[in-house]
Symmetry: C2
Subunit: 237 residues, 2 copies
Amino acid sequence: MPAASKPVPSVWARTPREADQPALSRTAIVREAIAMLDAEGVEALSMRKLGARLNAGATSLYRHVATKDELMELAVDEVCGEIALPAPGGPDWRADVADAARSFRATALRHPWVAGVLGQAGLAYLGPNLMAFSNNLAALFTQTGFPQPHGAIDTVLSYVIGMSTTEAAWLTTVARSGETEAEFVARLMPAAREAAAQHPDLAGGYVDVPDPVALRDAKFEYGLGVVLDGLATRMPA
Amino acid sequence: MPAASKPVPSVWARTPREADQPALSRTAIVREAIAMLDAEGVEALSMRKLGARLNAGATSLYRHVATKDELMELAVDEVCGEIALPAPGGPDWRADVADAARSFRATALRHPWVAGVLGQAGLAYLGPNLMAFSNNLAALFTQTGFPQPHGAIDTVLSYVIGMSTTEAAWLTTVARSGETEAEFVARLMPAAREAAAQHPDLAGGYVDVPDPVALRDAKFEYGLGVVLDGLATRMPA
DNA sequence: CCGTCATGCGTACAGTGTGCGCACGATAGG
DNA sequence: CCTATCGTGCGCACACTGTACGCATGACGG
């Protein structure tokens, strides 16, 4: 019988589809992709592994998602939905912009892959949540009569994306080491100091840090203050 | 004769190694890798294609380079060597920092892959040229008695990296379209305007741009001015 | 009851990074 | 001069990637 060449041992033993599973859906796929990205980073996400986590084959995902790049775009936008948007028109534009920036950083650090992907994609991602964030930032400036709102948006966004990308990359490296951030810093310090010996003006950056998290927070706040001060000088009285 | 099973048709017909070729070397590999990255972007670089361009097999490269990641690190640092470093201690720290920032942006746009790779790697890249650039920036601040030089460095770097990454991603998208930047902008404008209809505060950003290159230059200069102004308020008189 | 259709999956293809071991030319030691 | 060693390049192989194609299955509307 040529039918015996089929890999199925018997037609009668077929499992009649596990219908209790919520089946595949675009939102479920995106949700699980984000979970994988958060846990293992961007290069650990493959369509096969993602399918396996959803009790599905790799190619089944393509019924709901055109391509892996599209999936990444959806994941990025989904994560951007976590950014808190301050209500525009408040009395203190400075505080509102700062809150938006902090919220962006916080979600970028919660999902350490998103800043890098977002930066590399540039303006190609036009998802609703990302657009809403940009628009919110714009509203914060326009509604207070800022002269060049688009320059202000790009300036704030560039600073925040640049800082968050660098920070997220650092956190990824730390996470891969399996140590706490403080341990990792302590272990790297001698090598860094030796490398900085050739570059005396950098040496001041390699002092002992008792609380690396607080230091990163302070660095971000410092730069944010610088940017906002610079913008404040361009705000008419 | 079992020797006939060898793929070599005859031992006597063997080419005696083309010794005129400059042979493989780490610097030649890195140089050619940069050329490929500039021409076709980061996802078009494969060890096999790179080997082929050097008249070599893929695995031959591994005699000179431990891994592809290491090759990328070498390429990034090599490119960072193109950044012009202003002499520290000049009378106008503002102009010097601005020159360093402009030079960084210029090389990042000449090699549109480098900003993204650099951002994603964070502080993991400690090549000499990158260290020299950081140190130069540090020297520009320390030698003028700036109070928090490391905060200033991180602020400027974050802004410049963020802006350059976004710009480079945009340029990559434009290049892949095969059109000029002006054509590409014109073609995208209707879609962008329609998308911005839902986001009225963004609408002002989608006006006709006669000269996109000049507009990007102006945007960069605006943000750079903002950052430097913010830093200037922290400089003691 | 019988198409039609959306959905999942098995197979396959071209391509990736890279470990392994062999073959070769040059070079040094007897 | 012969021989042992060594650096270099390469062929092969492995595990893995994204994704195109076509079939099987069950749900659903006529």
